[in-house]
Amino acid sequence: MKNMAHRLLKIRNNVNTDYIISGRYKFRIRDPKELAKHLFEDIEKDFIKKLKKGDFLVSGENFGCGSSREQAPQALKAAGIAAVVAKSFARIFYRNALNLGLCLVECNTNYIDDGDELELDLGANVLKNKSKGLNITLKPVSPLAQMVLAEGGMIEYFKKHGGLIGGA
């Protein structure tokens, strides 16, 4: 995966799920592609226009805090985002993204600017910032999360294994 980084310009940290997708839309729109058209509308109206399929969304601490709405990762996935890259994720959002098979990457994002070209190598556990010639090491992903992601999400995992398996 090699594509462009996009950062929300006004809010570096604590991007909550209301900002990802407003409550106004989650109640009346059920098609994820339609929802995706309203991503970040309340805080940066034109942000969605910059996103191309396969691009990266880059943020700071505590991305996805607040409401438990799964429409947030659902809309990000529908927009074609390859991965959300952040210093840390709020826990409900983290689980929701994992369950939907949306890739989340935790690492130091201080040296990623809006418009940088990124390449993600999950096997080598590294995010390459091609524009700056930097290799950024990723925080390791738990074995359970790896298994769920490998199946493409929790529904596929659950169906394949006939439920939740083992002592986790």
Partner: protein, 421 residues
């Protein structure tokens, strides 16, 4: 092994001894969804291919966030929920019943020591009843609906000790806003909070629900209280199940211990657009407001309406302000009517909404215009939360909101100390 309350409850539901950092599959005692999350629960449940819920008596759906429906899209979701509930024979609380978190603690489905999942981030409210309850997304909820289980990472615990006698006009809401200011909106991410101290001991259950409710605003997975006599009395009066009180071991391991002396605490106000952007009321007093809202799962209980009624008795809401009252449940509404609070509030000029979440999520019941400012007893003031990104939201206690509604600007409820003693 010495354990925290969170470690003990998860251990009891996993059937093995767990410590912070472990991951385990646990049996879940109850789970729920609301109208903002249930259409996705239904979708995910149907994708799982399970023919029926693992146990329909341990599941409920609530139509509360946007109820009654303001548009066709929402009505379609409500209809889908009703038909799913009929198909699988589980309880649905329809328009007019109230907010899921208030109904969950009123209706006796829960008891001390339970493990509860809700597809709503404020599910942590039941921590006040010595319950490990936490918010999840819709797919996680569907997994539990289908299997009766889910996986948990056992959280580290931060102990929060609050001591000192609160001054008249200062409430549990002010205490939790002060704690959030200190902890920040990510200070407890992935962690459990355990609340204690003599202030907490003196608080009513209503005040403890307010504190537990806002635990998620610090990122916490849950915010748990010990089961004292008040908790046990509450459970005995409502629940059929025996309480399984859980106390922390004396030498349990805490990742941090925070102590707060609230004896000289001022009423607190959370300013736009982040919940942890908190200041004492003295610093924001005088800010003009257009709307005042008393309600929600944070502060829409009888006690909250009682405080508002004390302040508004024989007073009038400022002509430039709309005051909205949202009783958290049908029972709260009836109690408040019986005690005369509704009478006082309506005569003062308030509009009383049906039981439910009201304008908190910005879908109906009081959407703000561009440039308008609201003061609300809710738990979130994110930009756009009340339906308009060009409006501003301040969060405060019912007392602060009520006196601000009279003055037309953010005001210090201690001016009404005599009425509040």
């Amino acid at each position: 092994m010495k354990q925290t309350i969170a470690e003990k409850i998860l251990s009891a539901h996993a059937g093995r001894e767990l410590k912070a950092g472990d991951t385990a599959i646990c049996d879940v005692d109850f789970c729920l969804g609301q109208d903002g999350t249930s259409s996705l629960i239904i979708e995910s449940f149907e994708k799982l291919g399970t023919s029926k819920p693992h146990n329909a008596s341990k599941f409920a759906m609530f139509i509360d966030h946007s109820a009654p429906s303001p548009n066709v899209g929402t009505s379609t979701i409500h209809k889908l929920m009703r038909s799913f509930a009929r198909k699988h024979s589980f309880k649905i609380y329809d328009v007019g019943c109230g907010i899921c978190h208030q109904l969950m603690v009123e209706d006796g489905a829960l008891t001390c020591g339970d493990l509860v999942l809700g597809a709503d981030s404020h599910t942590c409210t039941y921590g006040a009843l010595n319950i490990f309850s936490t918010g999840v997304g819709s797919t996680d909820l569907a997994i539990t609906l289908a299997s009766g289980k889910n996986w948990f990472r056992v959280p580290e615990t931060i102990k929060i000790i609050v001591s000192g006698k609160l001054a008249p006009g200062v409430y549990a809401k002010d205490v939790i806003l002060r704690i959030i200011k200190d902890m920040t909106s990510q200070g407890a991410n992935y962690k459990a909070l355990e609340y204690g101290g003599n202030t907490v001991d003196r608080l009513t259950l209503s005040g403890r629900f307010t504190m537990a409710n806002m635990s998620v605003e610090m990122g916490a997975k849950c915010g748990i209280f010990e089961a004292d006599k008040k908790v046990l009395d509450w459970i005995k009066a409502r629940s059929k199940s025996k309480p399984r009180q859980v106390t922390a071991d004396e030498k349990a391991v805490y990742t941090d211990v925070k102590e707060y002396d609230v004896s000289s605490l001022s009423p607190q106000v959370s300013m736009p657009h982040e919940v942890d952007n908190v200041a004492p009321v003295e610093e924001v007093a005088g800010t003009p407001i257009d709307e005042a809202f008393i309600g929600t799962c944070t502060n829409g209980r009888t006690e909250d309406l009682a405080v508002a009624a004390k302040i508004l008795k024989n007073k009038k809401v400022h002509p430039g302000v709309k005051l909205l009252i949202g009783p958290a449940s049908k029972q709260v509404f009836l109690e408040a009517a019986k005690k005369g609070y509704i009478d006082v509030l309506v005569k003062a000029g308030a509009a009383v909404l049906g039981p439910g979440c009201g304008p908190c999520v910005g879908t109906h019941n009081g959407v703000l215009a561009d440039g308008e400012k609201a003061i609300s007893t809710a738990n979130r003031n994110f930009q756009g939360r009340m339906g308009n990104p060009s409006a501003e939201i301040f969060l405060a206690s019912p007392a602060t909101v009520a006196c601000s509604a009279i003055e037309g600007k953010i005001s210090d409820p201690r001016a009404f100390s005599k009425r509040l003693k």
